[in-house]
Structure formats: C-alpha cells, structure tokens
C-alpha cells in the first residue's frame, strides 16, 4: 500500500527534477520519473520512520505549518547576527573569545526534532552542536553568554512547537571546563 506521504515525496522530487532540468521532453521527464521513483523507493522507509506519526487532524497540520513558518523566520533572523558576531571575533585584533563546551539533556523526543534542533544550534550566534547521543547534546560556545537560549530552553521550545511537543523546563547544564565564578 502506497501512503500519501510516499506519493508526496515522489511528486516533490519529480517537481524538483523538472525545475532543475528545465527540459520538458520525453527523455528528460522519463529520466526524472525514474530518478524520483528510485529515490522514493530507497528513502520512503526512512522518511516514514523519522517523521513519526502522521498528524491526525487538519488542525494539527495547520498548527505544525504555522509553527514551522515561525521557526523558519526566527532561524533566518538569527543567521545574520551569527555571521556578524563570528566575523567580529575573527577581525578583532585580540579575538575576544572564551570557548567552552557544555552538555545538557533535551526532552525533544523525535529524531527529526533533535536533528533540526542540532542544526539550529549551529546556525544561531556563538553555539555549535558537536555531538548528539540519544537525548544528550554536547555544544561548543564561543563565549559562555551565547548559550543563554539553550540554558533557558527557549531554543528547544522553538523547535518543539513545530512538532507539537510541550514546553520544557530549563535543562541542567554541565560546563567543560567549569565556568569560573565571576564576582558580582
């Protein structure tokens, strides 16, 4: 039985092929259909597994789409300051960086949510995901202050909302090396 999701995957791949090739004769369309079918056959198991259960209601689909749009705008808005900040560190004569590694556990449950979360960590200013093992994330920061959105769980929740996961409490953070206590 071919699911709606498998069909959608096939047609998205085919549309992408047609847009990239720009050739609309039998040979190119035939090769496109063959390629899209091959890729669909190879990956649909993985797509089904990683995307998890289908949203059951129209309302859930609309909510997910809305929160994905919010997430996309938020992410692109964060890429600009991220680039500017790292450029500032690079061109500054003394390079005012104070790198640390930090570890914490996330409550995001699906693999695709964790993947998107790891990708987001790398694109926002000053943080980069290094390892993801199960629910434990290891993140490198240029300056400790960059981790504010991770410590407050704001970033986790931005991703979690797309998958209709409940908000998380701020995680416990392990710094490596330990943060020095700064006098107030």
């Amino acid at each position: 039985m071919i699911s709606a999701r498998t069909l959608a995957l096939f047609f998205v791949l085919l549309a992408f092929w047609l847009l990239l090739s720009g050739q609309y004769n039998a040979l190119f369309i035939g090769m496109g259909v063959a390629s899209a079918a091959l890729v669909t056959a190879l990956t649909h198991d993985m797509v089904e597994r990683e995307l998890g259960d289908r949203p059951s209601t129209v309302r859930a689909v609309a909510l997910k789409t809305w929160w994905f749009a919010v997430y996309t705008v938020w992410l692109f808005a964060r890429i600009l300051p991220a680039g500017v900040q790292v450029a500032w560190f690079v061109v500054h004569p003394r390079m005012p960086i104070d790198p640390h590694m930090l570890r914490f556990r996330t409550q995001l449950s699906s693999p695709i949510a964790r993947t998107i979360f790891a990708n987001s960590i790398t694109l926002v200013p000053g943080t980069m995901s290094v390892t993801v093992e199960g629910d434990e994330f290891c993140v490198h920061t240029m300056v400790p202050a960059s981790a504010a959105d991770l410590i407050s769980a704001r970033m986790q929740n931005h991703v979690g909302r797309v998958f209709l996961e409940p908000p998380q409490p701020p995680p416990e953070i392990v710094w490596e090396p330990a943060l020095k206590e700064t006098a107030p």
């Binding site: 992408f16 900040q85 790292v86 450029a87 694109l123 980069m128 290094v130």
Partner: protein, 103 residues
C-alpha cells in the same frame, strides 16, 4: 543600473566579504571547534547574501530563481551538517577545547 540591481550588487559584495572573513577565520582562530564556527556561520551567511543578491538581478528569470533559492536552502541544511560531522569526529578522537586560560 536600476535601484534593484544596485541593492543586489551590494548584497553580493557584503556576502563576498563574509566569505572572505570565513577564510580569514579559518587561518586565525585557535582550534578546530572555533574554526568550525567561522565556517558554519560566516560562510552560510555569505552564501545566503550572495545568492539572495543575485535574485535581484534583471537577468534572473523564474527557472534561475528557483535554482538560486535551492542553493540557499541546501546551504542552510548542508553547511551545519558538514560542520557537525567534522566537530563530532574531532570530539570522538578526544580533541580538547582551546581555552582562554590554561585550566
């Protein structure tokens, strides 16, 4: 040159500047992790600006625009993924973090 083309040219120029900074960062920053930051962010932003700027040029028709947007989309997905793969490999090999003061 239309105003739109001028904006596009400006975006491409700023994008190239970020790509250059990313290359400088690769040389200047102290360790693999910090260098990976430079590539992940400055280069992704540089690519977005260069290809976003090209979108505004009058020679770009719909078919070309779709390809430029596809380049932006795949950069935003693939660049952090590649950087993550490198940083993870380094971490698994036990590479320590460069720190401001020796601990």
């Amino acid at each position: 040159m239309s105003a739109l083309t001028a904006v596009g040219a400006a975006l491409v120029s700023v994008g190239v500047a970020f790509l250059a900074v990313s290359a400088v960062g690769l040389l200047r920053l102290p360790d693999l992790y910090t260098r990976a930051h430079g590539v992940a962010k400055a280069e992704t932003l540089g690519l977005i600006l260069v290809f976003g700027g090209l979108l505004l040029f009058p020679q770009v028709d719909f078919a070309v625009a779709v390809r430029l947007v596809a380049v932006i989309f795949f950069s935003v997905v693939a660049n952090p993924t590649a950087v993550h793969a490198i940083a993870r490999a380094a971490r698994r090999e036990g590479l320590g973090v460069w720190t401001r003061e020796p601990s």
